[in-house]
Point group: C2
Chain length 230, copies 2
Amino acid sequence: MQVLNPDFQEAMRSNFLFMDINKEDFATILQGTSVCELRAGEILFSQKQPATDFFLLVEGKIKISLLSFEGTQKVVDIINPGNTFAEVIILNGMEGYPVNAKALSNATVLRINAQKYIQVLSNSSEACLKVISRLSARLHWLMNEMERLSLHNASYRLISYLLEDIHHESVEETKVMLGAPKRIIASRISVTPETFSRTLKNLTKDDLIEVFDEHILVKNPSKLREMLFI
Amino acid sequence: MQVLNPDFQEAMRSNFLFMDINKEDFATILQGTSVCELRAGEILFSQKQPATDFFLLVEGKIKISLLSFEGTQKVVDIINPGNTFAEVIILNGMEGYPVNAKALSNATVLRINAQKYIQVLSNSSEACLKVISRLSARLHWLMNEMERLSLHNASYRLISYLLEDIHHESVEETKVMLGAPKRIIASRISVTPETFSRTLKNLTKDDLIEVFDEHILVKNPSKLREMLFI
DNA sequence: GTAATGACTTGATCAACATCAAGGTCATCC
DNA sequence: GGATGACCTTGATGTTGATCAAGTCATTAC
């Protein structure tokens, strides 16, 4: 039996659907897993074809599309590396793929046998619960992130970032360590380094924070909190 | 045995964790479910308290926070109506809550007995798989939505919206019905009606689309697609 | 008929940010 | 010691899109 490249195993392990599967069970799943190298434009599966596998994209881009009457093709999803696709179809026990999957670029995908995976989950409610837990946690995180990014302006997003990292109930001064170059944090909250710098300066001018090399001193947490009307 | 108000049952059913549970199983879960009315500021549970239930917020806002050494309180999450919380703790089988939950406003929450819920899932791998499937689908959707909203400017978001709704592979003209007032669609893609109107006009000027009352005629799908570098 | 309403458009103005360009500081390397 | 390169800051300028205000239709109300 051929063994899956450790890098690929790693890739699977870092996906929520496989993260918490125990060793033996994971080995079982690996038995049903193989690597597909796709050329740009190549079709991975198409509508109505029996749904026997789902997939984890390692590299490249995959387009999921739907063919309606008269050949109209609607793009349902574009898959990026690290994500699984068609797992929803599998988990719902559908007979055939209701969509088409086509490589938009050269791509590497792992083809995971549905039956093996389902077998593992079916036999281990523990694994199931863990997976549900992971997905649920990820959902919470994503919704938070979305909320933050939808905060209208740069100051708000910065403040929200600072408060997330400290958030006393108290009114005391607090250090926020920024364990990463400022430009990284800037991109995390979706502003340019320049704007980030200027925003920090503004908050400093208003005597709300003080900026150091390795950390930011939040001088007035409660006032900042007010600015977010939380 | 007291029966849970149908409205509340409805609320549960529209959450992914309960959506696909069959009738009997759902009844079992309901046996372990009760309503809590919280006053603003009231504490629902606190750190280290045994974790016997998780919750679905029906109305109000709940703050989830973490108490570290020396009384520093860090806000981990703000829960909004429709969402569950503490389910991750439960599903991971943790003994006690690692966080505090406090009502930020008057709030209505459903308290769901962990043991009952887990029992149901444990006995039905089918239900488990359905739940995983739902969560997974929701994740895909959210990630898509995030991507769209992170598209830098209004034209991009509008184009992305249009393409999502048609997306021929072909180059032919296509109608996109907009089954909702324009201002609704505008808010969907996070622009004001004014900007929406102007953006449509621009695309019309470039001969890419044509605007009608009930639909938009996309005259050059492939050119639009290029503009998104997909 | 006239008035009132609601959805959309259009124009003018303004604030927020990105971008471009030019320094400044600091650590590392030769 | 001087050169190099990362990272950050600062200033000038341009674009984008929100906001305010006014105007167009079409529909419904009186």
